[in-house]
Symmetry: C2
Subunit: 468 residues, 2 copies
């Protein structure tokens, strides 16, 4: 209890009276709830209170309490988003879902699981696996990220290429909306077209329409085997040509990732076994299925990737695979470490524009005099396009912001999107009117105002309202 601070305001006092001491964080305990937990950019907010309800009825009470007083409420999962979606920008009550962490039903024989929002992604993955099943979404930070947050962001990850994003695995959703009503759309059924698809509308709504409190997840039998194929190229053009051949051959690996020159440069020494200096572009792909199938697809993948490859290898050794996974998980940090900071955006382009997008980033590097790099989910055309900055230089950060604006504009010119995975949150909300024309924007703001006319739920995020 050494970090336990004292009550600072009436909101904390009232919420302690309602939910008890253990449900309200005070003083320094509040700090972890004021910023994205895996983001080093420094966006941090302030909260009038940080509340951790332990059950659905407490969330209903909390929402009713906030709603009747016009107090903003900021739902929070694991805080592993990158767009500031869970950051309380200017007060209000943070509602952390971490204590709603029960698996309410698990029916392995029927390939489904019903969970509360605070169950971690990693726990769902493990419980599925130990029963011969598989939950494919893998947005990263699985031990911190929570299913509710995954739904709120429609989280993706490498395996989206074959398996789709989180939305593909949700058959039902439970939300607390408006003044504290609980609504459910879908459930344990695999199909339902009776109403409008509000399940999908809530998925990806980033906490702005209500609080996701639970979900019914669909699982599949775990693939028997997986192989990893990795190829290194001298330049991005050879590598992207290889990626194109993977699609042209009609192969469906589970993941299809790339790492460009800047990225390879930042992680060359950490790469298992090292990388020779003539490798400036990597393709990493996992194949899965029955043992025969994983083997067959990786054979064909090797064939598709071999032209112009400096090296090409495959493995299904668990240790080698784990080493590659560790390296992959460290890429973002290694890139940040280059100059102390980075500005990284999850743009998406149609697959045929992947080479153009990588080239475009090089052009912006030259134009704005900022080192850049990109990596990501090649098969989905989803880049993590990054400018490496000196975090201590306001001038550089401003320059990176201008470069990023140009990046978004180019992505949209390519019929892409400013966000494939992270959402707009707070950080990218200024892109709202860039991505959406007036007619589309008016529908999106209409949805927000329909569900949340008083702008209580995560205000300022995702959409720009007419008066803002």
């Amino acid at each position: 209890m050494s970090n336990r601070g004292s009550v600072e305001n009436n909101i904390e006092r009232d919420l302690i009276a309602l939910f008890g001491e253990e449900a309200v964080k005070l003083g320094l305990e509040k700090l972890p709830y004021l910023h994205d937990s895996t983001e080093m950019q420094g966006l941090s907010g302030r909260a009038d209170a940080v509340v951790l309800p332990e059950a659905l009825d407490q969330i209903c009470q909390l929402v009713a309490w906030c709603y009747s007083r016009g107090v903003p409420i900021i739902p929070r999962g694991g805080g592993t988003g990158f767009a500031g979606g869970a950051v309380p920008i200017d007060g209000g009550v943070v509602c952390s879902l971490e204590r709603l962490n029960r698996i309410l039903d698990f029916s392995p024989e029927f390939w489904r699981m019903q969970v509360e929002a605070g169950v971690t992604t990693g726990r769902v993955q493990r419980v599925a696996r130990e029963n011969g099943l598989y939950y494919p979404p893998d947005p990263g930070a699985a031990e911190l990220s929570q299913i509710g947050g995954n739904l709120a962001c429609n989280a993706g990850g490498p395996h989206s290429f074959k398996y789709g994003t989180t939305a593909s695995w949700v058959t039902g959703i439970q939300m607390v909306i408006r003044a504290g009503d609980v609504v459910t759309f879908g459930g344990p059924v695999r199909k339902d077209v009776a109403g409008y698809d509000l399940r999908s509308l809530f998925i990806g709504s980033e906490g702005t329409l209500g609080i996701i409190t639970g979900a019914w997840l669909r699982l599949i039998p775990a693939p028997e085997a997986s192989h990893t194929v990795i190829a290194g190229y001298r330049d991005f053009r050879s590598g992207v040509a290889g990626l194109g051949r993977v699609l042209a051959y009609g192969l469906t690996p589970a993941t299809l990732e790339y790492f460009d020159e800047g990225c390879v440069g930042a992680t060359r020494r950490a790469f298992p076994g090292g990388l020779s200096d003539d490798v400036n572009f990597l393709v990493l792909s996992e194949t899965d299925g029955s043992a025969g199938e994983a083997d067959r697809i990786s054979d064909q993948l090797m064939d598709a990737l071999k032209q112009d490859a400096v090296f090409l290898s495959r493995t299904h050794d668990p240790r080698a695979t784990a080493a590659l996974t560790r390296w992959r998980s460290g890429v973002s940090f290694a890139v940040s470490a280059q100059r102390g900071g980075k500005m990284s955006e999850d743009i998406v382009v149609p697959f045929d524009k992947l080479a153009a997008a990588i080239q475009m980033l090089g052009d912006l590097e030259a134009q704005f005099h900022l080192p850049s790099c990109s990596w990501g989910h090649a098969g989905d055309g989803n880049l993590h396009a990054t400018f490496m900055v000196d975090a201590a230089s306001p001038e550089e950060i401003t320059r990176a912001e201008l470069a990023t604006e140009a990046l978004f504009a180019r992505a949209l010119e390519m019929h892409g999107s400013v966000s494939g995975e992270h959402g707009l949150g707070w950080v990218k909300r200024s892109q709202f009117h860039r991505q959406f024309g007036p007619a589309e924007a008016s529908l999106l703001t209409g949805i927000k105002l329909l569900f949340d006319p008083d702008n209580i739920f995560n205000p300022g995020k995702k959409v720009i309202l007419p008066h803002e």
Copy 2:
């Protein structure tokens, strides 16, 4: 031009002036547009005009024209739905999409196709196939049904078990909404979380939020091979136990269908090679993948299904498969032919309730003295639960309606849905308040009124508005 009638009202006159003679159907030419084209139930409406725009700008004009005059507009694809969703109940303008039938872009190397709404499902399937690709949704009546209608209903079909419904294959949607604005959500990109997921909201909206005019579809490499496995059982309990073992074994066939006793009875003689009298329940399943994979899964499927089977066989002979497909396509008609009419509903239950749902239908048969049967997408828990009626007996039809009401109530008690494939349309709109509680219903009607405050788009369908 022998069916060409004369102009009957000012609406037809005005629309001819706007769009030309060839765009407006008159007299008897209108008849096919007044009822579901594959439904024999007899629901038929009346239209003030039937218009076939030939391009997007004409749809915008038509919507603006209707909107400014308060004239209802009923979008229509192939008319192959079963819920009266495309039937003009009481006047208004039918807007048939059949002339918007261009494939705007097809990029086989990038696994995608951009189509206008009036392109038939069969054409998309064939164009994909002849380029080594596959469009999995197969709602039936592929040569009549149109992609726009498939999206409007989020159409399913047998292959939904492995591949998901239409929504899983749409990366972008174009709609004409409100007073004639064109909006686009998504596009050729495979991921996009910048806004709320209005793409999914429009999919399954049954023409009540606007007119779907185009879509970007995602394709996958065509499976190399497919096998068909069929098993016959003495009773439904043995058959459903076999289905349960398929899931318990962790098998993922492409389809997993069943046909109960009433259904088998109605089609026994049409079954390829005939069926012995002790077969009262059939399981039909397709496996697909590489040649080895389709073979391997069908081996395991045979193993899962063999217990208590009266017969069990497999084939990958195209003629045998085609014969089975023909039989399968005729089931609905054969059932209708038993007594001249049927009342058939596409309820869904969680998979573990499949046996209970089939049993429940038997109980209702006894209670309401009406022969019943069911068949459908077992893997998705999606039944076509059917009462066979004398179409000439109003008393029997009333009895079937009461039985169907009871059916819906029981499906919902099992945490199911009143519709897995067909939507509520007109026929099932009375189920709206049965399926949705007050809080859910208010959100759904709120969505309708947000997009269509004057209730111009397909009024009376899908939702029940507060004043109705």
